[in-house]
């Protein structure tokens, strides 16, 4: 006992009492992008990740890459916060629904999410609003709403914000039901289960499980492009360059 006590004490000092948990803030861009871009949010002591998700070809490709990103950063004792923009919201929702991995994701924060698909998917405004890529023509409301079970989020909460600002070429807002940011309707950005027009994402109507409005019921003057950084700003990751 006399000899073993110091050894026990030495071991006690050598073994960390808790494993270090790294926190990663994953940023996922929108349609026709391959990453989020150069401006990321930053939180003290955490690592911001510009997720390499290819949203130019297909949702299948993007889903696989999203899962690989989560596998890399959001397992073990790590914790992730996932910031998604536009069609990145659809990619994240689809990934959670199709994979069974219990990633450590605190929440998904979605800005102008195209989770419910865009009515522009069947119109001639696609290229101007979403960009010139193969996937842009296949993110319609029927595609996204039938593409996966949006209610199966692994129990992860998705906080959502939406804009109602004007975006050139402007006339496409007539195609989008209810309020919209020029690219997606609030039916999509608010996580509603139908495409019925909404005048705010606080409206009492069925939403996908665990989807909820955060910070504001609507940013009336912000268009789809303005909305990109808005959630990150709202959640404390940016103070400059915020709309």
């Amino acid at each position: 006992m006399t000899k073993s006590l110091p050894l026990v004490l030495a071991l006690a000092l050598a073994i960390p009492l808790t494993a270090d948990a790294d926190v990663f803030d994953i940023h996922v861009g929108g349609i026709c992008s391959t990453d989020f871009g150069s401006t990321l949010g930053h939180w003290t002591g955490e690592t911001s990740i510009n997720a390499p998700i290819d949203q130019t070809t297909s949702m299948a490709t993007a889903t696989t890459q999203m899962a690989a990103t989560l596998d890399r950063y959001c397992t073990g004792s790590n914790l992730c916060f996932v910031y998604v923009y536009s069609n990145g919201g659809a990619v994240m929702s689809r990934t959670l629904a199709l994979f069974s991995t219990a990633w450590n994701i605190a929440y998904v924060a979605a800005s102008a999410s195209n989770e419910g698909g865009s009515e522009l998917g069947g119109t001639g405004f696609l290229a101007q609003v979403f960009g010139q890529c193969a996937l842009a023509g296949h993110i319609g409301t029927s595609d996204h709403r039938n593409g996966w079970n949006h209610n199966d989020s692994h129990g992860i909460v998705t906080g959502m914000i939406a804009g109602d600002g004007w975006l050139a070429p402007f006339v496409q807002s007539a195609v989008l039901p209810g309020h919209d940011d020029g690219a997606v309707s609030e039916a999509s950005a608010g996580g509603y289960t139908t495409t019925d027009g909404r005048s705010s994402i606080c409206e009492a109507a069925p939403k996908f499980a665990n989807h909820q409005a955060w910070f504001s019921c609507e940013y009336g003057s912000l268009n789809h492009l303005d909305m990109k950084l808005k959630m990150i700003c709202d959640d404390g990751g940016l103070t400059t360059g915020c709309p």
Binding site: N146, V157, K207, A213
Partner: protein
């Protein structure tokens, strides 16, 4: 004579000095740990009461408080979020939100009559919309289904109106294209000036609808135009997305339109429901074991809805797991607390039993199973066979622990602390 100091004992390590250093280090480490993480001795779920982030934490130097912390009562049960969401803004902190979102398992949750996405899978979502050029017409270009399997036929329809009244139009182009996710660069449009849609049809698919194009014949059907497509004639080997492209002349200009659907050829069907179903009660939950004949092994996602004796929706459930080739059961768990909280009474029956094989790396990566066309009714279980216990799992406890350690992000509660 110089008296030399005796040499240290042979057993120099660990000596008294080492022991003293080790003890000192342990005390310092323990003190730092105690000060930095006073909640670590609490049970995971008891760290922060839901909705009460300002709950006092045991003072580090107060033995009585420390003892209270160790013996803290478990947190009160979380009140689950309503199945169809909460109106207004949500201002729950992340831990509270997570607990409310996980009273039920992620894949076994309440179902209400207004959850159209769960009750009407495969329904299309196109709506009447104005034309691109402001010609004063509205149109709806859609179909009767999103999923087409085997020898089934898709019926595409075009409804064009002026002032709400159907008007005759001429369809100038109409064809189907098997979607190539790599895109057809040869047909990719150069892009139009802002405010002016790029040329019809090509503009509908910035990747460019690649050849071959399968011509479609639209013809008047009452007040609308309609065309049918039997994708089986395309001779596809596996799951495919197929796009329908159309251009019509409404008298004041031309309008292009497009939608996609998913097709599963007979030889690409990965598995079928056998029709063999049975139900059991396991750990206070209703489990429906659905027989599945698997041709292509792999990862499957199978969804099912549950209705009560009054035909009211009760719950949805989802099986996610690997299935080998052969006949197997996919176990669909309807969580006991979901049934009890919904005040549902049996016998229960199922609806909308459908599924798909998930094949990451393939495109499309979901291969559809033919939906179950039959019916199944369970035994009339009394309520007391179901458990009222909240869902729990190691994954859930790990998340609660991790969320309890984070203070930077406040989510909907606001006031997150960034670094700028």
């Amino acid at each position: 004579v110089t008296q030399r100091r005796p040499p240290p004992p042979a057993a120099a390590w660990p000596g008294r000095r080492s022991i003293a250093l080790a003890l000192g280090g342990l005390v310092v480490t323990a003190t730092v740990w105690w000060l930095a993480a006073p909640t670590r001795l609490q049970t995971a779920g008891a760290r922060v009461a839901p909705g009460d982030r300002s709950a006092p934490i045991a003072a580090p130097s107060a033995p009585a408080a420390r003892a209270a912390a160790v013996a803290a009562l478990p947190p009160p049960p979380a009140t689950p979020y309503p199945a169809t969401g909460t109106p207004g803004l949500s201002a729950d902190d992340p831990l509270t939100a997570y607990r409310k979102a996980n009273v039920y398992p992620p894949t076994s949750r309440p179902l209400t009559a207004d959850q159209a996405d769960r009750l009407h899978p495969g329904r299309r979502h196109e709506t009447m919309r104005p034309d691109d050029h402001g010609a004063g017409i509205t149109y709806l270009f859609t179909a009767d289904r999103y999923f087409v399997i085997g020898d089934e036929t898709l019926t595409a329809t075009l409804d064009v109106r002026r002032d709400g009244v159907p008007i005759p139009v001429s369809v100038t182009q109409a064809y189907a294209v098997v979607v190539d996710p790599t895109g057809g660069s040869a047909l990719r449009p150069a892009g139009g000036a802002v405010g002016v849609p790029t040329p019809p049809l090509a503009a509908l698919d910035p990747g460019g609808p690649p050849p071959p194009r399968i011509a479609l014949a639209f013809a008047p059907s009452g007040a609308i135009q309609a065309a049918q497509l039997a994708p089986a004639r395309l001779g596809l080997a596996r799951q495919a997305a197929i796009g329908i492209y159309l251009e019509f002349d409404h008298g004041a200009g031309r309008q292009a339109a497009h939608f996609d659907f998913q097709y599963t050829p007979t030889r690409g069907i990965p598995a079928r429901f056998t029709g063999a179903l049975r139900d059991t009660i396991e750990a206070g939950s209703l489990v429906i074991h659905a027989g599945v004949a698997v041709d292509i092994p792999g990862r499957y996602a199978i969804d099912c809805n549950l209705f009560d004796a009054a035909d009211q929706p009760v719950a949805w459930s989802r099986f996610k797991g690997e299935l080998a080739a052969g006949v197997h059961d996919a176990d669909l768990v309807f969580f006991g607390k979901v049934i009890l909280d919904g005040h549902a009474r049996g016998p229960f029956h199922i609806g909308q039993l459908r599924g798909a094989r998930f094949a990451p790396g393939l495109d499309p990566d979901l291969e559809q199973m033919p939906p179950f066309a039959g019916s199944y009714t369970t035994a009339a279980y009394p309520p007391d066979v179901f458990s009222d216990a909240e869902y729990d799992s190691p994954d859930k406890q790990r998340m609660i622990e991790l969320l309890g350690q984070d203070s930077n992000h406040r989510g909907g509660a606001g006031g997150s602390a960034g670094s700028h």
